[in-house]
Symmetry: C2
Subunit: 106 residues, 2 copies
């Protein structure tokens, strides 16, 4: 469980990866499509996608010879759960975020 939290936070720690998540929140994309948005090689973007997938923040679905990368909302849960440890330190905004994700697949 702690390893899950770590892989999630680690995935979120890089600005390129956070940008990828923002992009994927708009629409699903292939690796090439994601890579086209950055000034770095496809291989580098692929590594970021691997880390995001390992952190369960995205899932990857093969379609023909392509790979569709899509956001995986449940993967944010460990992060929100961890942040929930600080209940009482801030206002109700977190509670709203947290409950919305917790109830998603119930």
């Amino acid at each position: 469980m702690n390893a899950v939290v770590q892989s999630s936070f680690r995935a979120l720690a890089d600005p390129t990866r956070r940008d990828i998540l923002i992009m994927l929140s708009d629409r699903d994309m292939t690796i090439a499509e994601v890579a086209a948005q950055f000034d770095m090689t496809r291989a580098a973007v692929k590594k970021h996608l691997n880390i995001l997938e390992h952190g369960a923040l995205i899932d990857v679905q093969p379609r023909g010879r392509e790979r569709i990368n899509r956001i995986h909302p449940e993967g944010f849960r460990p992060v929100l759960d961890w942040l929930g440890f600080f209940d009482g330190f801030w206002d109700d905004r977190l509670h709203a975020l947290k409950s919305s994700i917790e109830n998603k697949d119930t």
Copy 2:
């Protein structure tokens, strides 16, 4: 602003730093007190505290020759705001409900 988000997420990316935050959520602690909880040198812990302070997740107040480290709840705001970008993803119904509640007093 993006730099603020980055320093927050970066500070949260290390398990030792997250453990420190959990400890400080229970009570304020000096550097030596924090360091006593870990199997590493005080200098290493101090580096972690510097990063947490830079990310505004803690604040540090001198008291005599000691330094009191305490949690800084507002520092989590950039993280929560960024995560809030995905609100619509997690559950549209709850998101609508949440928006209506949040706008109640506008």
